[in-house]
């Protein structure tokens, strides 16, 4: 039995929405309806079911109606027509009191810009949902602390959101949504505001959590890569309509129409994957501040035989290798500047991975990924080969 069932759900923004709705039934397009009535079609007769424990991704370009659709699911936006069932209860016919109960007990939401209250500490933010339910202070703080520990923020509970990085803030958003152990999570572009590296960490972490928790997750994104990584099923939206629903495989193999195909073409992975997509976080030393001792210590900690050198503004200056550093230390040399080497392979963030292959194979050090001369990441052979293997894997199935 599905946890969420959406039937013929439409939302039209504007004064003449009823009139627009009947035009929609006559088959007019979003543009035509806007011209005729001045109304914007947000969601057009959406129909789908989400099963328990499923990660259901809704994907589409900006303006395709994703945010509107997800807000219809908890009725932050009232539908113009159609029904949303959570188990057997129809949200569309609920009164305020019943609706509040569903929002408090069954579903919670994670927001694109985190939606944290700036005047509340991390802990106070996390208890919010339980606080409005009237749960007693001790119990709600205990549950909130557990949720915060789950997302790795156990030692930040008394900080304010502005003191945290974007990734950490969204962890708070996630903890707040999880604290009350709801059945359904609604996530509207929850990771879109984060840097690519942090974004990937968060995706992994969500998947780890999901393995343990088995929530029903509705995840909105405009990024096909993200959709493919985390979705059990993906719904593709265009102009308010859902144009295809399927598993990632189905979507890639059998695009339902030109629109989906165009989306999917973008993901012809070898063409589209760039250095940015596969780079790792670099270990670095700053030659304005650090000498051979710090460099050695970092290499020892991470088990590296060389380390990249940057300056105060993250400009890439070169690398040093362990032997040189050791010798420098023994000879009482205090600056890395004397032993720095600069024969490392360097690519831009946007370089396609195919081209990286050419520079990596006989390089003694990982490839440096830069943006305007600043070091953004590194690529090691392992990840590059894994990424290419994926591409070829898809290719084989394509031919079959």
């Amino acid at each position: 039995m599905p946890v969420i069932e959406v039937d013929n759900l439409s939302k039209i923004f504007g004064k003449r929405s009823k009139e627009a709705l009947s035009l929609l039934d006559e088959g007019l397009s979003k543009d035509e309806i806007l011209k005729k009535t001045g109304c914007t079609v947000g969601v057009n007769r959406a129909k789908f079911q989400v099963e328990a424990g499923e990660v259901f991704v809704i994907m589409g370009l900006s303006g395709s109606g994703k945010s509107t659709l997800v807000r219809l699911l908890n009725r932050l936006i009232n539908p113009t027509a159609g029904d949303v069932y959570v188990h057997d209860d129809n949200l569309s016919t609920m009164n305020k009191e019943e609706l509040r109960r569903v929002r408090r007990e069954k579903m919670s939401m994670v927001f694109q810009k985190f939606g944290l209250f700036p005047f509340r500490t991390v802990l106070e933010n996390t208890v919010f949902g339980m606080e409005v339910q009237g749960m007693d202070k001790e119990e709600r703080e205990k549950k909130a602390t557990e949720a915060l520990e789950l997302v790795g923020l156990g030692s930040f509970i008394h900080q304010y959101p502005s003191q945290l990085s974007g990734g950490m803030q969204q962890r708070v958003g996630l903890a707040r949504a999880l604290a009350n152990d709801p059945e359904i999570l609604l996530m509207d572009e929850a990771f879109s505001a984060l840097d690519p590296l942090i974004r990937k960490d968060m995706q992994d972490e969500l998947m780890d959590l999901q393995e343990k928790m088995q929530k029903t997750i509705i995840f909105i994104t405009h990024d096909l890569d993200e959709a493919l990584r985390i979705g059990d099923r993906i719904a593709l939206m265009k102009d308010g309509s859902i144009v295809q629903i399927g598993t990632p495989e189905e979507i890639l193999m059998n695009p339902a129409n030109d629109y989906v195909e165009k989306f999917v073409e973008d993901v012809d992975r070898s063409k589209v994957l760039t250095a940015e997509n596969i780079m790792l976080r670099p270990e670095t030393v700053d030659f304005d501040k650090h000498g051979p001792r710090v460099a050695l210590e970092r290499m020892r900690e991470q088990g590296l035989s060389s380390i990249y050198v940057i300056d105060r503004t993250r400009q890439l200056k070169g690398y040093v290798n362990a032997n040189d550093v050791l010798e420098a230390r023994n000879n009482q040399i205090t600056s890395l500047k004397e032993i720095i080497r600069d024969d490392m392979p360097t690519v831009e963030k946007e370089t396609p991975i195919q081209e990286i292959f050419d520079v990596i194979h006989d390089s003694p050090v990982p490839v440096a990924v830069t943006e305007e001369g600043k070091l953004r990441g590194i690529i090691i052979k392992g990840t590059l080969i894994a990424a290419l293997a994926n591409v070829n894997g898809n290719g084989v199935e394509d031919n079959a």
Partner: protein, 280 residues
């Protein structure tokens, strides 16, 4: 040129309206005049009974801590208030302070709820906004006339006129502050099942607080700007000294009393601004 339209008797209509209100609500105005008037007098008198040294020290300590342990405002307060005491204007200062205190309190207590109502309903906003415009642009002297009709002369009509003149900013800023709360925070509050009241007190008012406090600050400053005008209908205080200096063409006395008002204004303004900052 437009002789064919007879001059409309607006003025006499308003006269009639004021008369009607005065008579009909006499049962309300009279006890207010007596009881509130008594409260104002007694407040000012008790304040005047506190030895100035103590008041000055208290203000200085308050200024010191509210401005983040900086000495500037505290030193200014000590010098300024000693000057007023030296000019033998201390009890007038207390009357003026009482007038400002009560009219601002009244403005805030009524203005914030009205601002909240305005932020919650577009209909309310479209009705209240022009009324606020009217209240602020009508020359302040005009309020003295109905004030006297309702409450006679003295402190009470002074507070009433200041209240009308000073309320609009706190209403406007409350409305603005609440409407400015980002959609995402409002949605977060709704999505977690907060009631309207919980949303207001746990999200909207805390978010709007700096804006509301800016409105409160303006409201206090406006009511202070009314003290001279209010003295025309018998309100006691520094305003009366300015007024009588004007009537007798005594430039020196007028300057001293006016200067005392400026000192009070600066102290109150800086204190309330700091109150705003320290709470952000």
């Amino acid at each position: 040129m437009l002789d064919f339209i007879p001059s409309l008797p607006i003025a006499s209509w308003v006269d009639d309206a004021v008369k009607w209100v005065t008579n009909t609500f006499e049962f309300f105005f009279d006890p207010v005049k007596d009881n509130f008037g008594w409260l104002l007098d007694i407040s000012a008198e008790y304040l005047s009974m506190i030895p100035p040294v103590i008041v000055i020290l208290l203000v200085a300590v308050l200024a010191f801590f509210m401005s983040g342990k900086k000495l500037g405002l505290a030193v200014f307060s000590i010098i300024g208030l000693l000057f007023i005491e030296n000019q033998e204007l201390w009890s007038e200062l207390m009357y003026t302070f009482t007038l400002v205190l009560y009219s601002s309190l009244l403005a805030v207590v009524i203005g914030i709820p009205v601002g909240i109502l305005m932020s919650k309903s577009n209909t309310a906003e479209s009705i209240i906004r022009p009324i606020l415009d009217f209240m602020q642009t009508m020359p302040a002297f005009v309020y003295l006339i109905p004030a006297v009709a309702f409450f006679g002369i003295g402190m009470v009509p002074g507070v009433f006129a200041s209240f009308i003149f000073a309320t609009p900013p706190v209403v406007r800023f409350t409305n603005l502050g609440i409407r400015q709360v980002s959609t995402e925070l409002v949605e977060a509050s709704d999505a977690f099942g907060a009631t309207g009241q919980q949303k207001l007190f746990k999200v909207e008012l805390p978010m709007a607080k700096p804006t509301i406090m800016a409105g409160v600050n303006q409201t206090i400053m406006l009511s202070l700007s009314m003290v001279v005008i209010a003295s025309m209908i018998g309100a006691s205080g520094l305003g009366r000294d300015v007024l009588s200096a004007l009537q007798r063409a005594e430039a020196g006395a007028g300057f001293v009393a006016g200067f005392a008002i400026v000192i009070l204004a600066i102290i109150i303004d800086r204190l309330t601004q700091n109150f705003n900052k320290s709470n952000q």
